[in-house]
Amino acid sequence: MKDMMPDNISGEYQEHLFSYHDGTQRKALFTNIETQLPEGRLIVSRTNTDGIIIDVNQPFIEMSAYHKDELIGQPHYILRHPDMPAAAFSDLWKMVQQRNKWHGYVKNLRKDGGFYWVYATVIANIRKGDITGFTSVRRRASRAKINEAEILYQTL
């Protein structure tokens, strides 16, 4: 995955180098600018079993600030924010691989370096007994829950 580009960033930014589980690396640029998910919107995406995005809805596109063709075919961790602990995502993968539903509060990284908090739910798509992919739905979270998650994630 390509490094994030300074030209796309709005405002002052910091850098973080991600080393992903698949052995790849990416330089992420992030700011302190928050965008709130508007009330009533649901962000929906589907990935294949490797976590590669195969479909997104319009709120996903708007909140991520990417174009749809920049998202399809990319790993879902294109949205990963440096403040999110790796432990949260390893728990997610363990749960959904075991065909359980995963819930959690997630801080996502936008293309412009900003962030948005969501309450995310992920489930496995099971067809004829096999996992064929994953569906994720993200919705607006309460500020109190976000504050709790921020404190918790700093300890992980």
């Binding site: 508007p38 009330e39 009533g40 919107r41 649901l42 929906v44 589907r46 809805n57 319009q58 709120p59 539903k101 309450y119 739910t121 992920v122 489930i123 798509n125 067809r127 569906t135 994720s136 739905v137 919705r139 607006r140 979270a141 309460s142 500020r143 109190a144 829950k145």
Partner: protein, 248 residues
């Protein structure tokens, strides 16, 4: 043998005659006897489903989940350009302008339509509200929810968007939506049960050509539908997965 057809009880009462006309049109078209049974509530309809007394159903997304996964129903079609969205409304004089101004103890008026309840409870989450810190009065019809708001017997009312939009202008003037869902991918589905599965393809092809036939156009108009579009198994499975992510 007569097969039983039913419609999710959240439809607009103004379309009752439209569903009877549709039933007559469909049984003539597919040459199969169909009996239309309309239930007053989601719980009554769910009992009929549990007792295997339903063979064809225009189901809300929540019930479609159980029908496809647990009862072996097949998706056939959905109405084009219609998605299921929900509205939370208040009395127009209420000081509440948005969801996050709501507080513990909020009084909700709702029908027992499970998909609308689920979507609206999700929209209350940003205020930290859930079943444990709200109270709910259950009503049999959306007009009764409007009345609860007008009499200040409830702080917020849960509506299916289409039904809210079809309230009288006089009623709507006294209400104010504070949030409406924008999910875009949840629909009612027409589903065929196992006992009518031999007619699935006939039903689907009849529905898809309905808008090309003058009689069919009239029937669609009575339902306030433009046309039917086909729903394949994977599209239904995707919607069911989505409903699963939203369910508690």
């Amino acid at each position: 043998m007569t097969h039983n057809f039913t419609v999710s009880p959240d439809f607009n009462p103004g379309h009752i005659s439209g569903w009877y006309i549709f039933n007559t049109w469909l049984q003539r078209t597919i040459n199969e006897e169909l009996h239309l049974e309309l239930y007053n509530s989601a719980s009554e309809q769910r009992k009929a489903i549990a007792d295997d007394r339903v063979d064809l159903i225009y189901a809300n997304p929540y019930d479609a989940t159980a029908l496809v996964r647990d009862k072996g129903f097949f998706p056939v079609a959905r109405a084009d350009n219609k998605t299921d969205e929900a509205i939370i409304a208040v009395n127009h004089e209420s000081p509440i302008l948005n969801v996050e101004q709501l507080t513990d103890g909020t009084r909700i008026s709702s029908t027992d339509d499970p998909d609308v309840r689920m979507m609206c409870m999700i929209m209350l989450e940003p205020a930290g509200l859930n079943k444990s810190n709200t109270s709910t009065t259950q009503r049999d019809a959306y007009i009764l929810i409007a009345k609860d708001l007008l009499k200040n017997d409830a702080d917020v009312g849960f509506f299916l968007e289409e039904t809210y939009n079809e309230l009288s202008d006089m009623t709507k003037k006294q209400l104010r939506p504070i949030v409406h869902s924008q999910i875009h991918v949840i629909h009612h589905l027409l589903l065929v049960g196992p006992k009518l599965a031999h007619k699935k393809d006939d039903i689907q092809s009849s529905l898809l050509s309905m808008a090309d036939d003058s009689k069919g156009v009239g029937v669609l108009k009575n339902l306030n539908f433009e046309r039917w579009v086909a729903v394949e198994q994977e599209e239904a499975e995707f919607m069911i997965d989505l409903m699963d992510t939203l369910a508690e």
